[in-house]
Symmetry: C2
Subunit: 427 residues, 2 copies
């Protein structure tokens, strides 16, 4: 076994193009240095572990499996002071603990207005009424007889990052950006159900209504309802989770999460919007001049570095370091994400990895050789329409700081010499 | 509300091309007939349900969520008589309860040889030794400093459908085809780790070895190890489940599941295969002449209709019916699946839906108007190399019935007038 000191390749940042061809092995040299030294003295290697000595649980132990005991910290977390009650509240996806683009069902963030409705599937009904030729009521079994589609889509609450309008507040991407998740939905295109009911010629809007105690309702323009909306009954292959609308929810790809009505029980077809509470008093964007933007449905392109981040500090002193994060756009795909390590002075192209799907989270990586000095990390998403994610200051100049919605500004993390990370702002 | 009798479109099968354009609404007409009648008399509509009257659980109720109480039947199931102990045994994915292409982590089938190793991540080590320039030992933190990739891949046990070699045996696609699952893996390309260790010029094979009490080991040719193999630590975004190799497993896309060594603790590099127990006594295919095929790593193209199937009968009398299933190939993608309703006399092109990814499950649908008469359902996958899934009889003619491995023959389901479904064979 060679104990020769390895030289550290500091040239990764400038050799992005051939990264996957040649520089990875060199980039890993510091890792290998300690890995080589470890081989002969590490008690985790020289001693036989219990799990290699004794039989483990058999196949009947967990008919529905769960995560390892060592992953108990990977959970949704709420912020008690944000809301007055837990039934009309929010919790957050632990983005810093995840990788890839699929959010596992167990940690998809929740936003309720009347708590989790525990709907009995046998008693579930979906009514379509209003400006239709025939009023219809579907059971789950009826819905299962229509053709289905599968789509991986992100769902982002309009209030995601909302606490950051007036400055850096929450220390962790789980809290600043965790009101987003991304799963594969299976459902019936809403268009098929509306066509089945027969739209009257003056039909222009629909109003999906939830079966929970809040009776959540929103106005959705017909063009969107007929485009890519689903009445979904599966997420990541299995039935929707109760907190995500079991047994059926509306999927409105790329648009704000509040419109994705859960436990959906009725769709009224009309010729005008309903001006419901959640599209007037709430989910409008109050501007500096006292007027409010409304019907701001589409989610603008956004990104966040999930690692390193305040809840996921760097644990080594220097050398090869993996930076990773998520980017998404309500308008299409994310062909490009730029990364800066120095608060915006120099930008580098991130490596996109995994499927690039419409209105879906995208995973990016930037591998670099950390010199152990402080960093100011930012990511900037550019979507398939050419839209470039703005800075928070650019957003404030355009919209003021009165709203809590639609903050897609660039996030900054300050990495200290210790590897600890803080939520900060740079101007 | 119109109560006019709807006419039933019986022309769906011959209008596959414009299915998504026009015939869906017509295809759903029978559904709509009952749906329209239901609107005025259904107590599930005329009475307010409890879930609409009272607040439900708040956001702190389930930091890591779980399925609805009404989905308790959606579990992995084992077949007690198949094996002598549960620690060296199998359970099966409930394919008939799932949709889309992602298998949720909780129901991914398990195959253990010494039970579930409960590995402490802090004490996890991965050694690379043998024909390398420098022997290395990696911790989890070391692995997290190498570049990562994300891949959605199916994992199929070589023994999947193995009980069917001698005739129809098990009544349910969970049991006949449930030793397969499909998740998004995140991991370090094995190539980067091998290059880090430095391969000697005579290196031709690797032997991954598991950290569990069975010390599972297999020979993998170096060309595959350097191609698309991963040392994976995430599945569907979160940490690997204990039963799937937490904290790290080998991913060998398209090749038989036994090679995907779980709890991987060592990779030896050599110049010849090791002829381990699991590639000689087991996981070889005994032919009629007493000789055995070996190193049959690549999984041939295969498909199965998941609904209707014995565990998922048709519940309506006749009319619009959704047939769906899964297809996959260890050699690439599945551009086409054919469906027959009459035991192979007439074939129809299925509708593929969802992402078509290399060495991944594919979802197909075939919507038809059931006349209430018995059916003989089959699906036939054609992969991107042009390979056509064979019949069971064709397989038996080529290989005899002594093996339990690599049975990718066409499955037949007999649908009775009652809607019940049976596992049968047709010649």
């Amino acid at each position: 076994m060679s104990r020769k000191k390895q030289t550290i390749n500091t040239d990764i940042t400038s050799s992005r193009r051939d990264f996957l061809k040649s520089s990875i092995a060199a980039g890993g040299a510091l890792v290998a240095g300690s890995a080589a030294a470890r081989a002969e003295s590490d008690p985790a290697i020289t001693q036989v572990q219990d799990w290699a000595r004794y039989l483990g649980d058999g196949v009947d132990a967990a008919p529905y499996g769960k995560p390892s005991e060592y992953e108990k910290h990977v959970i949704r977390r709420s912020v008690p002071w944000l809301t007055a009650s837990t039934e009309s509240s929010i919790n957050f996806t632990p983005l810093h603990e995840l990788d890839g683009i699929i959010t596992p069902n167990g940690v998809c963030f929740e936003r309720h207005h009347g708590g989790v409705a525990e709907v009995e599937p046998d008693k579930y009904r979906l009514m379509i009424n209003g400006l239709v030729e025939k009023q219809l009521v579907f059971t789950m079994e009826d819905l299962m007889r229509f053709p289905r589609k599968n789509q991986i889509n992100f769902l982002e609450c309009a209030a995601n990052s909302g606490m950051e309008w007036r400055g850096a507040q929450l220390n962790g991407c789980q809290f600043t950006h965790g009101m987003v998740h991304n799963v594969m939905y299976t459902g019936v295109p809403l268009r098929y159900l509306l066509e089945e009911a027969g739209l009257k010629t003056n039909a222009k809007w629909i109003m999906p209504e939830g079966g929970d105690s809040s009776g959540m309702n929103r106005s959705v323009p017909l063009f969107k309802a007929l485009d890519d909306c689903l009445i979904a009954f599966k997420m990541n292959g299995e039935a929707l989770r109760p907190e995500q609308g079991y047994p059926a929810r509306l999927v409105v790809p790329g648009w704000e999460g509040n419109m994705w009505v859960k436990w959906i029980r009725r769709i009224e077809v009309g010729d005008m919007p309903w001006h419901a509470r959640e599209e007037t008093s709430k989910y409008t964007d109050l501007m500096e001049n006292g007027k409010a933007r409304r019907f701001t449905w589409e989610m603008d392109a956004k990104s966040v570095i999930t690692n390193p981040s305040p809840q996921a500090p760097i644990k080594h002193k220097k050398g090869p370091t993996v930076l990773t994060g998520l980017a998404w756009s309500g308008r299409g795909t994310i062909p490009r994400v730029d990364i800066t390590l120095d608060g915006g002075r120099n930008w580098h192209k991130a490596r996109m990895d995994g499927p690039s799907l419409e209105k879906s989270l995208h995973r990016f990586y930037y591998e670099f050789d950390w010199n152990g000095e402080p960093l100011l990390l930012q990511s900037r998403a550019i979507d398939s329409t050419g839209y470039i994610q703005p800075t928070k200051d650019e957003l404030r100049a355009a919209r003021g700081v009165n709203s809590i919605y639609h903050n897609n500004g660039i996030q900054t993390w300050h990495v200290k010499k210790t590897g600890e990370v803080e939520n900060v702002e740079v101007s």
